[in-house]
């Protein structure tokens, strides 16, 4: 059979592969190359070696902390959102699998924000945040921490429903008789959770953790629309910092591209760790 199919590659593989080359392979490879060049458009590049990479950290022979700031700000943001999203989503999922009345309706409501895109979502919240904060003489960009918690709220509101759905799927996958047996053995609800539910949910927890981890790390739309990086550049997450460098200042495209390469490496490392963890968990089970 393999032989019979083989010669059909122009039909089966070529369209996807051609688009993949245009949409990914060439931009990616050329992007790596350009991070070592000075350029304003893709055709008029000049090789400058590692200059772009040093310019990320040193500007005018002085340490420039903008990128480092957005790096740790992003890291902190990611950790906080991962914890909040997963704890809340898990709690709701547990309660919504108890079979209470209206479960379907509640599930529908919690999931809804996830379908609204980041830009639209952020303007909804921008209006609400500033309406409330004005009574306290503050705005969402008064300090980087108002911006921080603003983004945390928006992102949590958006993603809790999504993770909740995955947790519900995981919980429903736990065999009922297992829970029943534990209960007959006299396990308290806390013990049940700790010794039966959580261990069996580990694969689901891993998936959700890493989904929210990469989502937090790559966040852009909400950052752009809600805070615009203000005040100053203090609430710039990495993705916005890269965008700002690349499109904000003539002559700095190469530095932006170099930052993007570093960003890529960070995301790749997270993904590889995720992959390792998921695979090893599967083996254990």
């Amino acid at each position: 059979m393999e032989k019979a199919i083989k010669k059909y590659w122009p039909l089966f593989v070529l369209p996807t592969f051609a688009a993949f080359v245009i949409g990914f392979i060439v931009p990616f490879a050329y992007g790596i190359f350009l991070s070592f060049c000075k350029f304003t458009t893709v055709v008029d590049w000049k090789w400058t070696g590692l200059e772009n990479y040093t310019k990320i950290f040193f500007v005018n022979r002085k340490l420039d902390t903008t990128f480092l700031h957005s790096l740790w700000y992003t890291a902190l943001f990611t950790v906080v959102t991962v914890v909040i999203i997963n704890v809340v989503a898990f709690t709701i999922a547990m309660l919504l699998t108890k079979g209470i009345r209206g479960t379907n309706l509640f599930r529908t409501v919690f999931f809804l924000p996830n379908l609204i895109g980041g830009i639209v979502l952020s303007y909804i919240w921008l209006m609400i945040f500033n309406s409330v904060l004005q009574h306290f003489s503050k705005t969402i960009v008064s300090t980087e921490w108002y911006a921080f918690w603003g983004m945390v709220i928006v992102v949590s509101w958006q993603q809790i429903g999504y993770m909740m759905i995955i947790y519900i799927a995981g919980i429903q996958n736990i065999p009922g008789e297992l829970i029943e047996a534990a209960r007959i053995d006299g396990a308290s609800p806390a013990q049940l959770l700790k010794s039966v539910t959580l261990p069996l949910l580990m694969p689901t927890i891993t998936v959700c953790t890493f989904l929210s981890l990469t989502n937090g790390f790559k966040l852009f739309d909400q950052n752009l629309a809600l805070t615009g990086g203000n005040p100053g550049r203090l609430s710039q997450l990495l993705a916005l910092n890269i965008y700002d460098t690349m499109y904000g200042k003539t002559g700095w495209e190469g530095v932006g591209q170099a930052k993007a390469v570093i960003f890529f490496i960070l995301v790749a490392v997270i993904s590889i760790i995720q992959n390792r963890l998921t695979t090893s968990k599967e083996v254990q089970q």
């Binding site: 089966f12 593989v13 688009a19 209470i100 209206g102 509640f106 209006m127 029943e180």
Partner: protein
């Protein structure tokens, strides 16, 4: 991901068992609590809806109220204040004019539907081929697809948008190809995972019966893949419909603004934001999503569940 039970019906039954066992305690109380939380949860959307009918000057001055004066000052004064606060559909007519909303809606719809169809068709075919034909090239493609899933958009945004322009892809038709290229990784990966699990005997039987590979694919393989098709379609539709940065960089935004771009441009293009028009546009942007969600809810939820298990 380890799956203990591959029979969905059995799974559901067990889920139900768990529910009935636990149902007894606190059911009513929990329902009440969740009803309240649900209303709070959805309230941002309701607040925007309310404010979309207000005169723009009163949106920030009185975002949660209905009238400029307190009801304690008497009914007549209060109703007069209500009249002063609300402007009917004025914000909507303004917003539709300013953003050319229906055009944006059309572009968003065209791009999303077109991209999803193309991704599902091309990537499922590609996945079937590279699973069934094992050689270095197909292995290479598979690995590249895996690899592309971990590359953030920022890494390719500059070069991708420039190449797309050089290749005349800066229009709604062209961007579909860009989406196919950038979305291929995940789609091929998910389809490949499914193809691996279906037994090759049915296909071989079809081929022996005289089917060409094309017939085999469309008459035998594709129907079996339906659940994954739905999953990929849902995940990609959610991504593309709401995507801002890729279309903003790739499309000729002069002519083609998708809904997220139209919203973002409304903020910027007139210096200070016309919050009246903004509220109306937000409502207009949300309504189609809610309608679609209510119609296709079952598929969306299942798509997300399946997508997470594989992704």
């Amino acid at each position: 991901m380890a799956k203990k039970n591959n029979d969905p019906a059995a799974k559901k039954r067990k889920g139900a068992d768990v529910s009935t066992v636990r149902k007894a305690k606190h059911g009513g109380l929990l329902t009440a609590i969740f009803a309240i939380i649900s209303i709070v949860w959805i309230s941002p959307v309701l607040i925007v809806l309310l404010n979309s009918f207000k005169r723009k000057a009163y949106i920030f001055r009185n975002p949660f109220g209905l009238s400029t004066v307190s009801i304690t000052k008497g009914w007549d004064k209060w109703t007069a204040g209500v009249k002063k606060t609300f402007v009917g559909l004025l914000n909507y007519t303004n917003a539709i004019k300013k953003t050319n909303f229906f055009r944006s809606f059309g572009y968003s719809l065209f791009i999303t539907v077109g991209s999803v169809l193309l991704i599902v068709l091309c990537c499922s075919m590609c996945a079937w081929y590279i699973t069934r034909v094992k050689n270095l090239a197909t292995q290479g493609i598979y690995l590249l697809c895996l690899f592309s899933m971990i590359v953030p958009f920022q890494m390719v945004m500059f070069t991708l948008s420039k190449f797309a322009n050089m290749l005349h892809l800066s229009n709604p038709l062209g961007i579909i190809i860009v989406y196919l290229g950038f979305g291929a990784g995940l789609a091929v990966f998910m389809f490949t995972g499914f193809v691996k699990s279906i037994s090759i005997e049915i296909e071989e039987a079809a081929m022996i019966d005289g089917c060409t590979p094309i017939q085999t694919y469309f008459q035998v393989v594709l129907p079996i893949m339906k659940p994954t098709v739905v999953t990929v379609a849902i995940l990609d539709a959610m991504w593309i419909w709401n995507d801002y940065l890729l279309p903003a960089l790739v499309l000729n935004v002069n002519k083609y603004k998708t809904i997220p771009i139209a919203v973002q441009f409304l903020k910027q293009s007139h210096g200070q934001i016309d919050w009246g028009a903004m509220m109306a546009v937000l409502v207009l942007a949300i309504v189609p999503i809610i309608v679609f969600y209510l119609i296709a809810q079952k598929y969306i939820i299942e798509g997300v569940m399946a997508g997470a298990v594989k992704g």
